[in-house]
Amino acid sequence: MHFSDNAVIFAAKAQRSEETPEVRDIASVFASNSLWKPVDETTCCDFSLNGSVFAWSLGQGFVGILTNGDDKHVDFESPFHGLNSCTRVIDCGENVTSLVFLPRIAGSKKCDHDALLATGLRRGPIKVWNALTGDVCNILFDHTSRVTSLTFAPKGLNLLVSSSHDKTLKVWDMADNGNMCMTMRAHKQSINACAYSPTDSQMLASVGGGREVFLWNLTNKRRTGRPTQLLGHRNDVRSCAWSPDGALLATGSNDSSVIVWDVVSKTKVITLGHMCPMPSSIYAGGANGHWVSCVAFSRDGTKLVSTCEDDRARIWHLYDNHISVDEIPLSKVATRCTFSPNGKYAAIGQADGSVKIMCDSNVKIPSLAHLSRMAARKDTKQDKLQTIGQTLPYLINQYLRYRC
């Protein structure tokens, strides 16, 4: 319990945690071909919802799928040999710029299975695949530029939202065979990432160039009002991620910082700086060598992984007595990162199609206070938080709001 009002924690000054995590590599498939250069691709990677399938983009429009063949979580500890261990390789036809696993969609015959994978492509289409068999389930055409991010609504709403460099977000109704319901326009520059809140099916965050961080309230799948803006970043915002209880939003930006926002009060909770001291405005707004490309929260909410241009990926442990950081050096530019559902692995996609997996074999059990806080926040709507807060002692109220 140590967050003060908008504290800034620097990676260089934070404590190192006691054990360095082990690192496994999934090698790049194309690295041996000297004529191939990674261009205009994002090596995205994602785990399926129960962790049994892992997909990542290999480059040149191919997506590799790794699975054990059963429902158990993918195991990176046992040795594997790169492409030979891929269960399947899917050819998407164009460079893949984003991918995400979707939950089952009851009602649509083709989409009613557990390994539904949506891939956003460079020129705009979104292809939805069955990752285990390699069949196309759906192709969604409408974006005019690369699809940077895909996200799926929680609680069975069956809506897929995609963000694109053409400055729009589009909402697709997957239960209705992928029909597009709505186009959301408010960004003035290209949108880099979007994410649905995991607990509130009406709240969507989208981030993009020009320092824009927007929070949308989607009451209706066909119409939406103006979004609210969170001000604070000083350069293009590259990525956003929600904590699993929907109370915090982390955004990573080219101004070398990751800001964690309290969504209810729309204020900053903590800032994680990758460059010490914080760059002055002229460097924050331009090149500073520490652009943060991606952030992700772990499923138990206690860890955050961030990838930065200074060739390091960092896992921040947020709720120990002090925030501690695990750093691993990367050999190539990292573009995307994600945690596995069981919390043991962090997968970091690198620009040439290889993936580094950080294995944390001793996953710490979070404290009971943190688990109860997450359970309480998951269930509480924003407006009820105020009334609940009045019945609680001051310090507990502050803890519930991630303020101490």
């Binding site: 919390g343 074999s361 009971l368 806080r373 309480a376 998951k378």
Partner: protein, 119 residues
């Protein structure tokens, strides 16, 4: 014959009791009178219970190995005991860690108990 049988029972079914300073079990008593008997090492997950039972000074709890919680009701204390066992079972274990389920109705009371118990 009776003596032999009694001895055998002692060897096989002896679980340890609640008496004495090195007892294997301690008793946690909720506000509504439910008594939870739990292994001492599990109860020591909580910093508050640890200092009550083994700190310097002569706490009454130290003698009787019973701790009364006047503000924690039984449905919350039961969950707390489940957490002690969950934590001890899965810390430093390579098994797949299941999620610790907390129903939303008890989440706030559990937060207050966890804050008090420092665990």
């Amino acid at each position: 014959m009776g003596d032999e049988r009694a001895e055998k029972m002692e060897d096989e079914d002896f679980y340890g009791g609640c008496e004495g300073s090195d007892s294997a079990y301690v008793k946690l008593i909720s506000s509504d009178g439910h008594e939870f008997v739990i292994k001492r090492e599990y109860a020591l997950t909580s910093g508050t219970i640890k200092s009550m039972l083994s700190g310097p000074g002569q706490f009454a709890e130290n003698e009787t190995n019973e701790v009364y919680f006047r503000e924690i009701p039984s449905h919350v204390l039961a969950k707390v005991c489940q957490y002690f066992i969950y934590k001890n079972r899965y810390t430093n274990s390579s098994a797949e860690i299941p999620e610790f389920e907390i129903t939303p109705e008890i989440a706030l009371e559990l937060l207050m108990a966890a804050n008090f118990l420092d665990c």
